[in-house]
């Protein structure tokens, strides 16, 4: 009897059962061989992603930590037209994954060449994104995001004039830091729900128009006192703190608009929520 019990216990103890896997590390890079232009498309469904300028010798580089059960890394470059696809794409195994918090943390670090012309489009899902685009030669930029906390900053001026910047965010917390350094002629931001912070500091190399359309949420404008801002506002159940501004019909002019060296047109369409203005140096 004892032997049988022992045998049963050993059998039970020896039965192998499988458990879950974890994250994988993947890195990809390409040296620059005279390329002058890159049309980069970043796709990142979930996790934390950071994008910034890298070394002039490297055309692009990506360091990735991803969940191999649900995603597969993507790196495609066509030397003919300069198109580049980086990021992760879904393997089709959707659904919730119940695991520890650290196990779920996918991270990506993308470096782009500061010497080549970059046309950048990013498609982010439920991501925490930090895009430091200062110092690049950014010709245009497009960001589409779902439930994302994103910070797009230009700590250094864009090396060239940028034509358009388009941001479409769902339920997001979006921060645009030193937007003037982007040197974009037209900036368009449309958000569903959430909070948007627009820092209008920077060099503003050309007359620019910033259009903001928000459905539900708060818009915080950080405006340097030296910048002349002309606001055209369409609001529904939302407010704009117009104290100190000069009203000219439907248009509001910031204090010192006439004497300002740089001017920006700001078109606001806000539905539910409020607009706050913070004056900065």
């Amino acid at each position: 009897m004892k032997a049988a019990l022992l045998a049963l216990a050993l059998t039970v103890a020896g039965v192998p059962l499988l458990a879950a896997q974890e994250m994988r590390d993947y890195a990809v890079s390409r040296q620059r061989h005279g390329e002058g232009r890159v049309a980069a498309h970043l796709a990142f469904a979930a996790g934390t992603i950071s994008v910034s300028a890298g070394s002039p010798d490297v055309l692009y580089a990506m360091q990735l930590r991803y969940d191999p059960e649900r995603f597969t890394p993507v790196s495609r470059f066509d030397a003919g037209d300069g198109s580049l696809a980086l990021g992760i794409e879904n393997t089709g195994k959707s659904g919730l994954r119940v695991a520890s918090r650290t196990q779920l943390t996918q991270t990506a670090t993308v470096l782009l060449n500061p010497a080549v012309l970059v046309s950048l489009a990013a498609n982010l899902g439920a991501a925490n994104a930090r895009l430091e685009l200062g110092g690049l030669r950014l010709s245009d930029f497009r960001l589409e995001s779902g439930a994302t906390r994103a910070t797009v900053s230009f700590s250094q001026p864009n090396r060239i004039r940028c034509s358009t910047m388009t941001i479409e965010a769902g339920a997001a917390e979006l921060t645009l830091d030193r937007l003037g350094n982007s040197r974009c002629a037209a900036v368009s931001i449309s958000g569903g729900m959430g909070q948007t912070t627009l820092d209008l500091r920077g060099i503003w190399g050309q007359p620019s128009t910033v259009s903001v359309r928000m459905t539900v949420g708060t818009l915080l404008l950080r405006i340097p006192r030296s910048l002349g801002v002309r606001v055209r506002s369409e609001r529904f159940l939302s407010s704009f703190p117009s104290e100190g501004w000069t009203r000219n019909g439907d248009i509001l002019l910031s204090p010192g608009y006439a004497s300002a060296r740089r001017h920006v047109d700001l078109n606001l369409e806000t539905a539910l929520g409020g607009v706050r203005v913070e004056w900065v140096r």
Binding site: G14, S29, R30, P68
Partner: protein, 424 residues
């Protein structure tokens, strides 16, 4: 009976501090701090190494891998954009004995063990290096792949194609890679540990602990309900007893309508504009109502099961002490827990485990659905219509009505009393 009712409360009081202490000490404090201190000490001792990288199998005598026959394995290195697929194929090769490895590389060659391309050398075609480093001093006109080895490019080296190091690194000390450079790290040892086979004994133990924990929590909730909301619990319980079928159907419909109702609630609040402010509260309240309905209904169902069993035993002449709501709930929960405990014990058995788990899930769902339906029918124990406590009108006979005058029949006037004056 009082002692029985006091047991879950005492258990709760005993376990709560222990659970809270456990929760405080477990997650990332003690474990991670100890791990950090250990790795720090290792660094101080100078023996630190990346434990997360699995050890590589060394090849004593590097050789060229012969081409496989027509039906042998062939690995195409012309497209390196799917490193995971390559890792799978190369992993199979890597498990073979050194002398048994055979592979065909279309348009290229394969090596087992470390290999170098000399500075005066120019190699045409793709190159695969299995379980060794690839040192490139010269030129390679093709793609380069290493498995369990590094790619090292020395000054002046040129690789005309792409480079992929599977379970290795690409170290460029001044060479040129004209294509893309990729590194796929090995799955970390921690991951392998996590994926390592778990013994059925440890699995059984963890499942047992889980089941006991869940039912202990339910027992505490049931005890609290039987003490603080006994009337409501009994009405929902009676509703399940007297209208089982109706309660089940109602619960089923309720489950189906949960999401549409939630959607309508959200849309309605959003459309009403002002209601948007109430949206977060409405979502929370709705979720709480669903949880209370399901859990409370389940406990009421356990109460009904326990009560039925107790009554039957008493009718058979068995003395069971003083029956009460808490006792009923505990007995009903014990029945459900028995099935889950059976699953915890035999869950590791390939077929039987699945069958027992299916039965436990089915029974739990059945009880929860019926309980939810009963909670809905009885408005969480407020309405007694379905609980068998109100006698339906058709069950009433004339003997209940003898003292009640019929509607429309005026009461007879006592003899000798004057007629009431007519009102004009």
């Amino acid at each position: 009976m009082r002692a029985l009712e006091a047991v879950p409360g005492a258990l709760l009081l005993l376990f709560l501090p222990a659970l809270s202490l456990h929760a405080e000490s477990r997650p990332e404090s003690v474990g991670s701090v100890a791990s950090d201190i250990w790795s720090f000490l290792q660094q101080i001792r100078g023996v630190a190494q990346d434990d997360s990288i699995p050890a590589r199998r060394q090849v004593e005598h590097p050789i060229a891998i012969p081409a496989a026959g027509a039906n042998g394995p062939a690995i195409d290195l012309s497209d390196l954009s799917r490193p995971l697929d390559l890792e799978r194929e190369l992993g199979r090769l890597s498990t073979l004995a050194d002398t048994a490895v055979r592979v065909t590389i279309p348009g290229g060659t394969a090596r087992l063990g470390s290999y170098s391309v000399g500075s005066e050398q120019s190699l045409a075609g793709h190159l695969l290096v299995l379980r060794g480093d690839a040192d490139i001093y010269g030129r390679l006109d093709g793609n380069l792949v290493t498995y369990d080895g590094d790619v090292v490019l020395h000054p002046g080296a040129i690789v005309a194609g792409d480079v992929l190091a599977v379970h290795g690194r690409v170290q460029n000390s001044g060479g040129e890679i004209q294509g893309e450079s990729r590194m796929l790290a090995a799955a970390p040892v921690t991951a392998q540990t996590a994926a390592a086979p778990r013994s059925a004994l440890s699995l059984t133990f963890s499942r047992l602990v889980g089941v006991i924990g869940v039912f202990l929590a339910l027992a505490c909730l049931g005890w609290a309900l039987s003490v603080f909301a006994q009337q409501h619990l009994q009405i929902v319980s009676d509703t399940t007893s007297h209208n089982f079928g109706r309660a089940f159907i109602t619960g089923l419909i309720g489950q189906i309508l949960l999401l549409p109702t939630f959607g309508m609630l959200v849309v309605g609040l959003v459309l009403s504009v002002a209601g948007i402010l109430l949206l977060p509260f409405a979502v929370i309240v709705y979720a709480l109502l669903v949880i209370v309905g399901v859990v409370g209904g389940f406990l009421a169902m356990a109460h009904a099961m326990g009560e039925t069993w107790t009554r039957r035993r008493q009718a058979a002449g068995v003395m069971l002490g003083s029956p009460g709501s808490a006792r009923f709930v505990m007995m009903g929960l014990a029945v459900t827990a028995a099935l889950w405990l059976a699953w915890a014990l035999v869950g590791w058995v390939p077929v039987a485990g699945s069958v027992v788990r299916g039965a436990a899930v089915l029974l739990t769902w059945l009880l929860a659905t019926t309980g939810l339906g009963a909670a809905m029918l009885s408005r969480a124990g407020v309405r007694e219509n379905f609980a068998g406590r109100i006698i339906p009108p058709e069950a009433l006979t004339d003997e209940y009505l003898w003292a009640t005058p019929r509607f429309g029949v005026p009461a007879a006037r006592r003899p000798g009393t004057p007629a009431p004056p007519r009102q004009r």
